[in-house]
């Protein structure tokens, strides 16, 4: 399975990565450049920093919560809960009535 399909998957992933990432990087790069220009030149430019800071702060919050969850083993054996949940349901339907 790994031999033929694995190769195909790798090629497809690489092609998709190039097709998606290159334009995104170009777009992001130009916007970042524009942003830096605005911060430097526009008298109100400093305000451009505030929403970005806001986003970064909130994202940092979620990021640390994600790390906390990972450190607590929340993502260990990641597919297990979906089977447990179904077993539990069957058990409940059997035993409650």
């Amino acid at each position: 399975m790994i031999s033929s399909t694995g190769r195909w998957v790798k090629v497809a992933t690489a092609v998709l990565a190039v097709v998606i990432l290159v334009p995104s990087m170009i777009g992001f790069g130009t916007k970042l450049y524009e942003f830096v220009q605005v911060v430097r030149s526009d008298p109100d430019g400093v305000f451009a920093l505030t929403p970005v800071t806001n986003y970064l702060l909130a994202s940092a919050g979620f990021f640390f919560l994600l790390l906390w969850a990972a450190a607590n083993g929340m993502f260990r054996d990641i597919e297990r809960p979906k089977y447990e949940m179904l077993q539990q349901e069957e058990e409940l339907d059997r035993r409650l009535h």
Partner: protein, 463 residues
């Protein structure tokens, strides 16, 4: 988790009467909301028989219409469904049953207070949050109690959690914070443009951080247990959850593009809105991956059909959202019926349809009776699905015409004249949805009245 649960499994885990009570309240407010929508729709066509009567003023009933859906229908139905799903997923009852009933009573008072306050002319100038200012603190306490009541069984769990519980936990915290932010900050702390920024966040986060996580959380629960098949990828579902957390909360300003709110904030909102669509795609791939190989269930199994129709509508609204949030589209469609069509597709086409699917599945189990009429269930589905699809497409198209009419600088009345046929179609579509709803209520009543009790375990999943 299993070992601790074993002792409790035989006790009464789910209080079925409270689930039913919440469903009853939800359906009552859905009826009120639909009446309000009908009244406003008739007013726009200048055929409102109640025009000029203070307590039937369409302006006030428009606010009752939206608030009854958000706080009367969606909140009540979600609370009922949570009383079913949370104990069964955690194998633990909620914190306190008396507290549950107290919350039930308090929430109905809040919704009735909101409706009464709005009809008496005490609305607050916050879209989706017109709850009078004197209802807000009570609602805030209610939301806190809801969070405490349901978090108690969830936090006792150890080890990896099922994705539904992730969504629920987040929803309890987010709903509380969102309600506080929207109802208090722009009223008491900031005014003007900054109040607009906060108001935009509120409109959006009420959908994104209260309705969406509860809706998807319940879907991740009901779809696998009805299909008797695990979700395609639990890992991917967690990607969807964290993606929602990272990208959803801060994109509300896209409701006020081209206002005096600084453009930087507007650009940021647009970019993160588009990012959300990528997250949505992962969630949909996951659900269709689960359905893969069992496609016939959509035909034979009513709840599954409700769910997946809602999901198709969800994909459409999200695709639409990614387009309409851009400044190019906004120039044309902002202020038009396009947005109204979008809102109906989300609130009715997605979340209300899911809830109707869940009710279709649960009511036989709650009452211990088979549905009185399977045909009536089918009618409910088709009238609702076709009705909302026609209504949304009609209004979205109307929005384009209105936008063009305005930018052409034609006299204002031209934009009304061009809307009249669309508004007429909207009424017909709305009446179809209303009829479907009444069929459902009739079917529920007849099921309730039917004497035939059947064994719980023998209730077929296909409703």
């Amino acid at each position: 988790m299993q070992a601790q649960g074993e002792q409790r499994i035989d006790g009464q885990l789910v209080d079925r009467s409270i689930v039913l009570a919440y469903f009853g309240a939800a359906l009552l407010f859905m009826f009120v909301s639909m009446l309000g929508g009908l009244l406003m729709g008739m007013q726009l066509l200048r055929h409102n028989p109640l025009n000029g009567i203070e307590f039937f003023s369409p302006g006030r009933w428009r606010m009752v219409h939206t608030n009854a859906i958000a706080y009367g229908f969606l909140a009540n139905a979600f609370l009922g469904l949570l009383h079913w799903a949370v104990p069964r997923l955690t194998l633990r009852p909620v914190l306190d049953r008396r507290l549950s009933w107290a919350i039930f009573a308090a929430w109905q008072l809040i919704v009735l207070g909101t409706a009464g306050g709005i009809l008496a002319g005490h609305a607050q100038a916050l879209e989706w949050g017109e709850t009078p200012v004197w209802v807000d603190p009570l609602a805030q306490v209610g939301l806190l109690l809801v969070a405490v009541n349901f978090m108690a069984p969830i936090v006792q769990l150890r080890g990896p959690m099922y994705v539904t519980l992730w969504y629920f936990m987040a929803a309890f915290v987010w709903t509380f914070l969102t309600y506080a932010m929207g109802n208090f900050v722009p009223q008491y702390f900031v005014s003007g443009t900054s109040a607009g920024a906060v108001g935009g966040l509120f409109i959006h986060d009420l959908v994104g951080l209260f309705v969406t996580p509860l809706g998807w959380g319940l879907m991740y629960y009901f779809v696998p247990i009805i299909l008797k098949k695990p979700i395609w990828s639990h890992g991917l579902s967690l990607v969807g959850f964290w993606g929602l957390a990272f990208f959803y909360p801060l994109n509300g300003i896209h409701h006020f593009l081209y206002t005096p709110i600084p453009m930087f904030l507007q650009y940021g909102a647009i970019v993160s809105t588009i990012a959300v669509e990528l997250v949505v795609t992962t969630v949909l791939i996951n659900f269709f991956g689960t359905l893969w190989g069992r496609g016939r269930e959509v035909v034979t199994n009513l709840p599954i059909r409700w769910f997946y129709t809602g999901m198709v509508f969800y994909f459409l609204t999200c695709l639409q959202c990614a387009l309409q949030t851009t400044l190019t589209f906004q120039a044309l469609i902002h202020f038009t019926d396009w947005v109204v069509g979008h809102a109906h597709l989300v609130m009715f086409g997605v979340f209300s349809m899911w809830i109707f699917g869940m009710m279709t599945y649960l009511i036989p189990r709650l009452l211990g009776r088979e549905w009185y009429s399977r045909a009536a269930c089918e009618w409910h589905f088709w009238l609702s699905a076709v009705g909302v699809f026609v209504m949304a497409s009609d209004l979205i198209l109307a929005g384009v015409f209105q936008g063009w009419s305005w930018s052409s600088l034609a006299p204002w009345y031209d934009s009304i004249a061009v809307s009249i046929p669309f508004w007429a179609v909207r009424i017909v579509a709305g009446l179809a949805m209303f009829a479907g709803f009444l069929v459902f209520v009739w079917n529920l009543w007849m099921t309730w009245r039917s004497a035939e009790e059947i064994e719980f375990s023998s209730v077929p999943v296909t409703a």
